[in-house]
């Protein structure tokens, strides 16, 4: 196949005006174009049955393992020699409600301009950032909202960023 394409291209370069070669190239291009269009057109209608299966299975996306049971209490992770604890209130943590995000950092220097990015694993939900402000030593708070995904998926990701130290990800399930 590759050699055939090279032959066609070589012939076209040697004799660009050859009508037969022109037709072959045109046919080849139309086939590629049709394949691309078929994929693009079928994608939207194929993706919904996939999403339907996701909703029926009602589990987290494979590869995105829930590492935080936020409904039971705060979650903790290590970051560059520090301990980062995330809490979301009020509990139960529900989508489409005003929520308070609290981050506690221990074992490090005071943090400047920390923030949390909220998103859904494997699905672009747009930029949803919670700016954190210091409320007391090593404790930062901010208000935010976790939105509801009509696909029925409930697993959300909160990426806590401490600009001078790095970031940690908390994956948890919310209630709709």
């Amino acid at each position: 196949m590759k050699n055939q394409i090279y032959d066609v291209l070589r012939t076209a370069l040697e004799n660009p005006m050859d009508q037969g070669v022109k037709n072959m190239l045109k046919g080849f291009w139309i086939s590629v174009e049709k394949s691309l269009i078929l994929v693009i057109v079928c994608l939207p209608i194929l993706m919904n049955p996939v999403a339907l299966w996701d909703a029926i299975a009602a589990g987290p996306t494979p590869g995105d393992v829930v590492n935080c049971d936020i409904q039971r209490g705060p979650c903790t992770q290590d970051l560059a020699g520090m301990t980062v604890t995330l809490d979301i209130l009020p509990r139960p943590v529900r989508a489409m409600k005003d929520l308070e995000f609290r981050v506690t950092v221990s074992g490090g220097n005071p943090v400047k301009a920390a923030y949390i990015d909220l998103g859904m694993p494997g699905m672009d939900m747009g930029p949803n950032r919670v700016e954190l402000r210091p409320v007391k030593d090593n404790v930062y708070e901010g208000e935010g909202i976790i939105v509801r995904c009509p696909s029925g998926r409930r697993t959300w990701k909160a990426t806590v960023t401490l600009p001078e130290s790095g970031k940690v990800e908390f994956l948890f399930d919310v209630i709709y």
């Binding site: 049709k34 269009i37 078929l38 693009i40 057109v41 079928c42 994608l43 939207p44 209608i45 194929l46 993706m47 919904n48 049955p49 999403a51 339907l52 909703a55 489409m96 409600k97 005003d98 859904m120 699905m123 672009d124 939900m125 747009g126 930029p127 949803n128 909202i145 939105v147 509801r148 995904c149 009509p150 696909s151 029925g152």
Partner: protein, 230 residues
């Protein structure tokens, strides 16, 4: 560039990127259905009108979020409406899929001469037989209310923009402008999908047409189930 200008630009770009990912998956079946329903007529104007309707609805919602300064207040007041719109969209896609496959018991509903007698079939018949593409504008206005994660995210930003405004009017315009930027960003993907799915060679291939109609039926069922569960 001020922080507000940067925010508009951010949501314009977000609309563009989300459009080619999220929107194609969630709203694509509706757009493909509309294109196939046009049966060879020009699709550009109907799709532009459909998308204009969608963006107008986003703008109004953004304005309201800006005035209220609260996303949750707005969301809780429109949730029932959104549920209904999701079910409606599902029924729309489902019927279009069934009609394309020729598998509905009361005959083809798309104005091929055998229109059914139910209110729904008459409505679909009108949609298909409409000489003026203006009918796609109210459809876009209605389907702009479909529940959608990225739209919610943009509305949160609109509400925050409204909170920082000095007056209700300024809040309204801030929220509205942000949602217009987001909506305009989603246009290229959905207009492109609409345009591509109307190409003659797809409609002239009975097998592709049948497969598409089957997938549309599945997508319609999915929307209805999600609407009931929402």
């Amino acid at each position: 560039m001020s922080s507000i200008d940067a925010l508009y630009f951010l949501f314009l770009v977000t609309g563009f990127t989300v459009g080619f990912g999220h929107c194609i998956g969630m709203c694509g079946p509706i757009v493909v259905s509309l294109s196939l329903n046009l049966k060879g007529k020009s699709v550009l104007i109907p799709h532009l009108l459909y998308n204009a309707g969608r963006v107008i609805t986003y703008a109004v919602l953004g304005g309201l979020a800006g005035i209220l300064g609260s996303f949750t207040m707005l969301a809780s007041s429109i949730v029932s409406l959104q549920k209904g719109v999701l079910v409606f969209a599902g029924v729309l896609v489902l019927f279009m899929g069934l009609a394309m496959a020729g598998g509905i018991p009361f005959g083809r509903i798309f104005g091929d001469g055998g229109a059914g007698s139910s209110v729904l079939s008459k409505w679909f018949g009108r949609l298909s037989a409409a000489k003026s593409p203006i009918v796609y504008l109210p459809l876009g206005l209605l389907l702009g209310l479909l529940p959608c994660g990225p739209v919610y995210t943009a509305l949160i930003a609109s509400a925050r923009a409204g909170m920082g405004a000095e007056s209700a009017l300024e809040g309204f315009f801030s929220g509205m402008s942000l949602m217009i930027a987001f909506g305009v960003g989603t246009l290229p993907s959905l207009v492109l999908i609409g345009r591509l799915s109307s190409m003659g060679w797809i409609r002239s291939r009975p097998l592709i047409y049948k497969i598409s109609s089957g997938l549309m039926v599945l997508a319609g069922i999915y929307f209805v189930i999600q609407g009931i569960r929402y």
